[in-house]
């Protein structure tokens, strides 16, 4: 067989288009390792704003439990206290009983609608500035930079083999992180007990086990999430980015790379311009990528990972200042402005981005370029959000300032519903609960209204004498449960069920409360 024959034979075998499903060429990794991120220190107006927000939020978190608020001798003097054991929530001048928890629910509704409002106007501001994850990661990064240096030093240290210096740096960094974590976990429990007392007990080892367990858990989560997980928490664990992205519209401000003026980007702008190529404002210095705590490139467009912390704006503005170009290559911009400017740069989409369309000959931006104007915030969507938010707020305020501090609840005995007494009169039993919701002792008058001829006895009051009205002393900030019997003489009974009211009136005050109750009698009377 000649080689020619062999070739002919081979060519007669059809090549089938098939490939193993798991061949290395098509196989995608199932799992990816986290890529290390070494955010560079940014400086500028947004960084400054973030420092301020960080100071305020951390200050509120750590210091609030230590604020005092005088409520008299019968209530704790901690301004903000969640007293789980006694089921009370104190917030400055407000004291909430468990049945008033709707105030907290209302505040959560307001927070939800407020988030809609904020997100529809200034994008993911919550994520970028005030989210605890963002704030604590920022705090941990401050420590990391202080111990290990800025981005380049940290990359170098990370690659360097283990040495005494590296061990010392890593050890001190993690120690400080852990201390911050303990302080974070420690601050949390002070909201649930008297802070100064608990502080002493904590160090003496006399606090409840739940206190130490809570501190331990929050220390672990703070250290893990702030030091090790960081952006992974936002990208993979948090549902917020998904939800918030759905609230944006074309008039919402988002951190935007304005490629209509930045492209084509060039590292050697002058040389490229001299050779007649089109050159945009972006010098491809990657400063925006280096400062990003999420490790993304904003120039790839809006993306799930972006928390809109705006540090890339600060980084880019510095570069623009150096290159003598106008700030705002990366800026807070709305999609509608962006689209208008993009149309300008591409001649309505007829050609690739041409920077000359949006620039004047002297390199400044053209007057036709659309800029954000604050009146864009005022639009039907934000009116509705603000209206709903304010409405809930006003309802809550109204409820707060008109709520009862004296209340009565009545449970009618169901078994037996009535008792026939030896003289033929009918007796009904009730559990009457009197709520004195102020931290002062009070005396109230409990009386029955309606049901003529009926008399009541109150267990433990006035030696169980019969009458229609009794003085009942109430302890400060407590509920008093009373067994009450109401007796109606046989000749006064005329219906199987009659309504009347238990009325409570503050002695020497003007607060009243009443509760409608039923009086039951046998059918055949």
């Amino acid at each position: 067989m000649t080689s020619q024959d062999g070739a002919a034979e081979r060519s007669s075998i059809e090549r089938i288009e098939a490939e193993a499903v798991n061949s290395a060429r098509v196989r995608q990794p199932l799992y990816v390792a986290r890529k290390k991120i070494f955010p560079k220190r940014a400086s500028g107006q947004f960084r400054r704003f973030k420092w301020i927000v960080m100071a305020i939020t951390l200050g509120i978190y750590y210091l609030t439990p230590w604020l005092r608020w005088d409520r008299g001798p019968y209530a704790p003097d901690q301004a903000v206290l969640i007293d789980l054991a006694n089921r009370r929530f104190y917030f400055f001048f407000i004291e909430i009983w468990p049945q008033e928890f709707f105030f907290v629910a209302g505040l959560l509704v307001m927070a939800g609608i407020g988030l809609f409002l904020i997100t529809s106007t200034v994008g993911r501001a919550w994520c970028g500035y005030t989210c605890p994850q963002t704030v604590w990661v920022d705090l941990f990064l401050v420590v990391e930079r202080w111990v290990e240096g800025d981005r380049n030093a940290r990359i170098k240290l990370d690659k360097a083999p283990w040495s005494a210096d590296k061990v010392a740096k890593r050890l001190s960094k993690h120690t400080i992180w852990l201390l911050i974590s303990v302080a974070t976990g420690g601050a949390w429990i002070f909201y649930f007990a008297d802070a100064p007392t608990l502080f002493v007990d904590l160090f003496r080892g006399e606090a409840l086990p739940v206190a130490y367990i809570t501190v331990a858990i929050l220390t672990a989560t703070t250290y893990t999430f702030g030091g090790h997980m960081r952006e992974q928490v936002c990208t993979y664990m948090c549902p917020w980015p998904r939800i918030q992205a759905a609230m944006l519209d074309e008039n919402s401000l988002t951190v935007t790379y304005n490629d209509w003026r930045g492209e084509p980007r060039s590292r050697h702008a002058k040389k490229a311009a001299a050779s007649g190529q089109l050159v945009g404002d972006c010098v491809d210095c990657n400063a925006c990528v280096a400062v990003c705590p999420m490790g993304i490139d904003i120039r790839d467009g809006q993306q799930l990972e972006c928390i809109t912390c705006a540090l890339c704006i600060d980084a880019c503005d510095q570069v623009m200042d150096k290159t003598g170009k106008e700030r705002g290559l990366i800026s807070y911009a709305t999609l509608s402005d962006y689209n208008a400017n993009m149309a300008l740069a591409t001649g309505g989409g007829s050609h690739a981005i041409d920077p000359t369309g949006v620039h004047k000959p002297d390199g400044r931006l053209s007057d036709k370029v659309a800029h954000f104007h604050w009146n864009k915030i005022l639009r039907p969507r934000t009116y509705v959000y603000f209206g709903a938010w304010a409405l809930v707020g006003l309802v809550l305020l109204y409820a707060l300032f008109t709520r009862d501090r004296l209340d009565v609840n009545v449970l009618h005995d169901r078994n037996p519903q009535f008792v026939v007494l030896s003289d033929g009169s009918i007796r009904n039993g009730y559990t009457v609960k009197l709520l004195n919701m102020i931290p002062e002792p009070r005396t109230v008058t409990l009386s029955i209204e309606g049901l003529p001829g009926a008399l009541m006895t109150v267990d433990g009051i006035a030696d169980n004498a019969e009458g229609r009205s009794f003085e009942v002393p109430l302890e400060p900030d407590r509920l008093r449960s009373l067994r009450v019997f109401v007796r109606l003489p046989a000749e006064r009974v005329d219906e199987e069920s009659e309504t009347f009211r238990f009325h409570v009136e503050e002695a020497g005050g003007d607060e009243t409360a009443s509760y409608q109750a039923n009086f039951s009698a046998p059918e055949d009377m």
Partner: protein
Amino acid sequence: MSEKNIDDVTGVETTGHEWDGIKELNNPLPRWWVWTFYATIAWALAYTIAYPAWPLIERATGGVLGYSSRAELSQTMEAAAAARADLVTAISEKPLADILADEELRRFAISAGAAAYKVNCSQCHGSGAAGSAGYPNLNDDEWLWGGDIEAIHQTIAHGVRFDGDDETRFGEMPAFGDILDPQQIRAVSAYVHSLSGEGADPALVEAGSTVYADNCAACHGENAQGEPALGAPNLADAIWLYGSGQEAIAAQVRSPQHGVMPAWQARLGETTVKQLAVYVHSLGGGQ
């Protein structure tokens, strides 16, 4: 599967699933995620070693920590018992009058008594203690054997007409069907019925009053107000243990029913019986 579906925008492979034009990206999971998953598996295995878990033929594996929910329950019960030991001791030691006078002790006795009542008494007297025909209502103010705290305690402790207790309450009404003739029974029933203000034939009532004075007043009293020492009920009030109306009264005169209540002292112990007495006393009729 040999075709790769690549999403145009992200350049990421999709799963090939599409819903109304929306495709599912097949991004790889972060590696720590899978480690978390393995950690939960390891935790589950460790848990089954540490705690009772695997069912075997005789019993489940015990777990190396020796945990048992039954032991935990008895610990909790012991702790609860220890927490109220002072109150229980006080109740067992103090006389009933002192318990009633001490508000804290009384409240505790009422709740403990209510619990014991639900288990031991509700079968006959009803869960609301309202009784039924033949079983006295404990809420009202008529007491067959006395309604002060000591009398109630005595009744609960030793029962009524109970064979197994020497101190039991005892009193039996003779069957007047053998003693009186039917006409007399009709008359005395009409008389008794009239005592609680109900209408009856005046002639019968007149005749009945004589029959009553001769046969009934010895136990039930001249004014028919009853005699707790004998368990003879008040016949002049609105409360009827075996039903009101002349027929029901006549039936009871002819051949009386006698309810029996067990003695509880031996079964429940002195402390529980005291608590029950305080509870029953608190229901509204206690004297």
